[in-house]
Symmetry: C2
Subunit: 411 residues, 2 copies
Amino acid sequence: MGKVANISPLAPTSYPQMPALKGVRLGAVEAAIKYKGRLDLGAIIFDAPATVAGVFTKSKCSSAPVDWCRKQLAKGGARAVVVNSGNSNAFTGKIGLETVKVSADAAKKAFGCKTHEVFLASTGVIGEPLDASGFETHLTKLEKIARENEWENMARAIMTTDTYPKMSTRSFDVDGTTYHLNGIAKGAGMIAPDMATMLSFLVTDYPVASDLLQKLLSKAIGPTFNSISVDSDTSTSDTVMLFSALNGNKAVSSAKDKGVGALQKALSEVLHELAMFVVCDGEGASKQIEITVNGAKSAKSAKVIALSIANSPLVKTAIAGEDANWGRIVMAVGKAGEPADRDKLTIGFGDVTVAKNGQREKNYSEEAAAVIMKKAFIPIHVDVGIGKGSATVWTCDLTAEYIAINADYRS
Amino acid sequence: MGKVANISPLAPTSYPQMPALKGVRLGAVEAAIKYKGRLDLGAIIFDAPATVAGVFTKSKCSSAPVDWCRKQLAKGGARAVVVNSGNSNAFTGKIGLETVKVSADAAKKAFGCKTHEVFLASTGVIGEPLDASGFETHLTKLEKIARENEWENMARAIMTTDTYPKMSTRSFDVDGTTYHLNGIAKGAGMIAPDMATMLSFLVTDYPVASDLLQKLLSKAIGPTFNSISVDSDTSTSDTVMLFSALNGNKAVSSAKDKGVGALQKALSEVLHELAMFVVCDGEGASKQIEITVNGAKSAKSAKVIALSIANSPLVKTAIAGEDANWGRIVMAVGKAGEPADRDKLTIGFGDVTVAKNGQREKNYSEEAAAVIMKKAFIPIHVDVGIGKGSATVWTCDLTAEYIAINADYRS
């Protein structure tokens, strides 16, 4: 990271108090992988095997740690997830595979578990070999300082161009007992949907079997992490993992269980909140943009149109300039290639309808739109007018600061 | 246009001498549509009916002039093409259709032709009604000043955020007679393939029938205008038209005619040159980027991968920062969704191979790459290593100047 970015103007004003989860310890150390003087190697350690679910990048050039996690997922239980920032260990060929083995072996020795119980994630520069030779020493040290209340340090250790740590938590009651879901995430650039997006790790103390956990995660991802885009660039390393800390308890495997329903709700909320934190930390972001498309031919079609708007550099720069340039939204709807009828299209910013039935709204007030464009949260509404498909996606604006951050990321 | 942009550093150092074509007059006037003190309404007038071919935007929200041209194309002969800048007459509903009729009628009266012989194009702001009430006066004046040697003024009249006029010409001999192909174009932003791109008008004095003319144009578009991208945004107004000024001569209709072969070659060269002028005038561009993908599963697959690289904001900002950040190229190959094998991928900048077989090349010299990255022309080579498909596309870098231009375009 060539420059120290200021904290995003869209950052939350406070961080949530993350509750301790029994049998779930976290730790973070300085391994000086790339950054100096900051936490860059973290781990979540499960004292007893946890169940695990994961969703990963669809990139055809996925990183070595992603390949590793996919393989281990099939084997079941998790005792640790080890994450480093500064180097993504992606496109590192055979050396990358060896690094992954060295890392898992280091965790095995440091945490006293099996290598297949170790999950790995790396984020940062692509294509540079990651030196994991010091990981055993670092992880041994980490194991000693790991505590149940170290969520924030873990969230900080996985940051790259992020300007603030991303944490979210929800609790829910099942038969008089309170359970929790804690989640952290990192991501600021190279964010686009289709699993997609970034690193995120979630842990619940409600005991759920792996298969069911996977179903819950896969369902909740679509309208959250898979509905955000910062720059349309999909990373080679994107990873979202959900763990259930069983602590030796029997795992629930029925989707009809009432605790599972509560967990699903908590999961949707936590993933949504984390996804919004990512959008609001979009590199150089000064505005959060919510794009709702209604009246499309199908929900799928609505999402394609919404993402076409969200990924248009011209729409995003107009919003950076606080310009209610709805013509560019028409352009983005048109280029999406989905069924649309120019003369049925309605477009609005917030509660101001700008265009209706293919032309500018008669009572449209540029002044009213200007008031909305000055705000930090910009809601864009599009009604395609031909069907019942709906979708909402989120993105941020495209500013000169994005260029500044990305033109010298490696230097 | 809120600001006066400096001329692109990638602009040509001189403009070609455009030869006069018999029976083809051009004129441009100040109509003050949006800009003040500059030519913004131009026309090419054919003294006798010309044959005509066209390729238009694939946008589902195409502009009223595009709809008009599509309709007239089926009817045949052209006596004029009228082009204004400053307002695209797109997404203007019924008013837009009426404006088109008013414009065509004005041309009919001014030039003494039929309305269906008038072709129209508009470029500029979307969604604002275009006031064509003064067009008859303006075009009558234009008709009087129209000359065969006014190509440059015509090229200037169609500019929007372009920083220089775009002109190209080729001549070819057929049986001892010299024929010509003249072309002009405009386009700097909202440029993406799939017809795609911008406004461009080409005229040859070699007499070719409409059907054959259409085949020649459609064939030549793929590797030229449909292989460039500035910002992945497809305009609602993109139009490329090719006219053959018959001047009463018999039109050639056989593809085997030797003059047709020469014209096809000239067409490819002129379209390529104009396409490069557009890329080099990409909003805020400081580098011209040529992306060649070999070894893909098919030519189509190669083009998808090449465009994924060309449209990646992270690749484009890295090049703006003169950073040989090949990891982002890996990312862009991966996100393209086309068949690829990480461990067979080769990537190079110019003659420097950066990565081979899925990892950094052993002899890779960051210094050698740095020398290439400092140049204005950046060739990127990707070999996917799995097939024989090839494609080349061109784009420009993404700079803070792009943001500055687009954040206040309307103001």
